[in-house]
Symmetry: C2
Subunit: 128 residues, 2 copies
Amino acid sequence: MRRGHVNIRKINIESAFSRFTETFSPKIVADLNGQQVKLVRAEGDKVPWHSHEKEDEMFFVLDGILDILWREGQAELHPGEFLVIPKGTLHRVVPKGHVKLLLFEPATTQHTGTVRSEITKDKLDRLA
Amino acid sequence: MRRGHVNIRKINIESAFSRFTETFSPKIVADLNGQQVKLVRAEGDKVPWHSHEKEDEMFFVLDGILDILWREGQAELHPGEFLVIPKGTLHRVVPKGHVKLLLFEPATTQHTGTVRSEITKDKLDRLA
């Protein structure tokens, strides 16, 4: 059992999105089991081909349409759809319009993998 | 890099829910980083107080209203809201009506923790 006060509070995803407007700047909204839940806005064809050597990455579309491309295929994700890109898989994402995404991934994940690009962030903001 | 064929496909959450009707029977829809994404329907006041010694547990409400109670407080979650119950925290959930939930938790998580009850499942079905 955990001792003392436990800080537990709910996150409303729409409210959290209302707190930022930047694109390609994932915001951490929860930490659990060494993983993080992040919210991100995406717009424009800016994400380079990249891979994550150690981390599987989950893309969950909340609003808008997101194309995800990998070597052998691609998928068009609509709201309420998600996809897991396994570690070591070269991939990129192309938003159609403005897209809101929820990501589940290890706390160690760099959003552009080992590739540095104009959108690479070294330190992410926290909304919760 | 991963060798050979990579099996990547999107999951549509509404379609996945249409494939089952049982309540309190979490269905695995994705595996990533030792974690699992599960979908579950909940209805009725059936979940006993329990805790997970090693696992933080995330409850994300997709449809309906879910009360989550812990020793020091409680929260009412509506669609688009989520909450993380830290490991070691005694908690229970009370659905108001029929609730659809997404869970994100380690593959090792037992849904009623170390407590056995009428709803305890030892082996979960997989939808993907």
